[in-house]
């Protein structure tokens, strides 16, 4: 290499360069969630659904002279979230493959685990934010509704139950993230998610539970919906009366649908060849 120009050293001095701070990666992933039309519409629809849920419920409650209390309002807010919130982590992960931006992302930060974790932090921060806003709106709706009725607001939701509602929401949210890393495809990830989160519990497991005597002993261990239902149901809710609280079932269902997809999906992302 004797003819190399003296002004052009063969080695590059990288000692003065710091690695990209993790917070910056999180900031970039946050921005990527919001700077496309898909992200914008998804957020707008989520917001509109929350507002619509409050409005419609308020109307029904007032017309029928019902008192649903804080518990009722939280349930009203959480239902749209269980449907829509998991789409965010799925899109955040899979759009990198569908739009092939992972080529650039993993070139600017070759340590893919950092990118994945930054994405995870960004979407979890988003989820927590939406949940806080939703529960806050539920509380406001509860107070306003009681004010209209001229009664005092009913706080009929124990803190433990609220915590379980949020835990279950976040578990499904994390499952969506994991399934996205497993499928690396938006339609695949969304379909997989709704089959596991909605179709199986509502269509398959409910029938099995009704028909088979051993089903209540098995299904909670493989489904987060049924494993957590006894913890977040209101007292003497008839739909979950035949289910007991099984801490082990909570653990195994989370292992199956959160931890396992994370392990398989993260391995896939770390070793795959983004094309």
């Amino acid at each position: 290499m004797s003819h190399a120009a003296p002004a052009a050293p063969l080695a590059i001095d990288v000692s003065a360069t710091a690695r990209v701070p993790f917070t910056r990666l999180v900031g970039v992933e946050w921005r990527k969630m919001t700077d496309t039309r898909a992200g914008f519409w998804l957020m707008l629809i989520t917001g509109l659904l929350l507002v619509a849920a409050i409005g419609i419920t308020e109307l029904v409650v007032q017309l029928n002279d019902l008192g649903i209390g804080f518990n009722g309002w939280v349930q009203v807010m959480i239902t749209p979230l269980t449907l829509l919130l998991p789409v965010f982590p799925i899109i955040a992960v899979t759009s990198e493959w569908g739009q092939r931006t992972s080529l650039v992302t993993f070139t600017l930060e070759p340590h893919r685990l950092r990118v994945l974790l930054a994405k995870l932090v960004a979407v979890v921060l988003f989820a927590v934010g939406v949940i806080v806003v939703s529960v806050g709106l539920a509380a406001i709706a509860n107070v306003v509704n009681a004010g209209i009725d001229g009664t005092s607001p009913e706080w009929n939701l124990p803190a433990a139950t609220l915590t379980w509602i949020i835990v279950q929401l976040l578990c499904y949210f994390l499952m969506a993230f994991g399934l996205a890393t497993v499928t690396l495809s938006s339609p695949g990830g969304i379909a997989f998610f709704y089959v596991v989160a909605l179709l199986l519990p509502l269509v398959v497991y409910s029938i099995l539970l009704a028909l088979l005597s051993w089903a209540p002993d098995v299904i909670p261990y493989i489904d987060m919906n049924y494993s957590m239902a006894p913890y977040l149901a209101a007292e003497n809710d008839p739909t979950v009366m035949f289910l007991e609280k099984k801490p082990l079932a909570v653990v195994t269902s989370i292992l199956l649908w959160v931890v396992l997809p994370f392990v398989i999906g993260f391995r896939r992302v770390l070793t795959s060849e983004p094309k």
Binding site: P9, K32, S95, T107
Partner: protein, 311 residues
Amino acid sequence: MITVEALTKTYGAYTAVDDVSFTAEPGRVTGFLGPNGAGKTTTMRMMVGLTQPTSGRTLIGGHAYADIPNPGRHVGVLLDASAQHAGRSGREVLSLGAKVMGLPSSRVDEMLALVSLTDTEAKRKIRNYSLGMRQRLGIAHALLGDPQVLILDEPANGLDPAGIRWMRGLLKGFADRGGTVLLSSHLLHEVEIIADEMVVIGQGRIVARGTRETLTAGSQGGSQTMSEDNDRLAAALRAQGVQVDPAGAGLQVAAEPAVIGRAALEAGVVLTDLRATSVNLEDLFLELTSDTQREAPGAPASQPADQGASA
């Protein structure tokens, strides 16, 4: 400086890249030339860690790519100009890159100006960009972090001749400031225009490397001539054992011009034209990579010039 050491990538029984070694030196533009499917893209992907090599390694300025902190500040990479979110604007793509690298947003404006993307163009969604505009944006993205090394896969693809000349100026300037440039192409004339050195790859193997001069040096040259009596000149040359073939109104002679001039003088024939035919680099390229061409040279092109999806 890029040092590629015995890079090999196999997919099952198929060897995409076979023991590839070469260097790209600072101050030079190195062209990585080969037909589609020869292994250019796979080699470049292995350089930046997107594809794990089966064996071998790449050092960029003495470091493995993954060990370079904030690599965008040292190595500018453009692997596929179309691999961008179609729903983002060009400016947004550069802004995201600048944010990762920790650069001020003024750098984005500088780069947009450098690659001549206007303000309105930069605000448009990438789905509305032509391939040439995507390439310009990709170059801007690669240059964003003011790197010392550039790795560009088919950067001239989709550029018009003026665009290719613009890129030559840009990359020459980068190299003159001490930068290292490696760019790939499946089109010889692009590399001929832009690169100082060439590395030719075919079927996953390096088949030739050097400057234009050294690549053609070993090959047999010849001359073209015309005279007032071609038959007599041809006979005189053949008498010396020189191969002569008719070529249009003149002769193609497998000898240097001096040999022909002397023969003409001795035979008393007046030459009306005489010039050395330089070895056509195109022929050399086709010859070097002939085993690996997807279609035989000269076969009727079944498809228009493709989009350079070389793997």
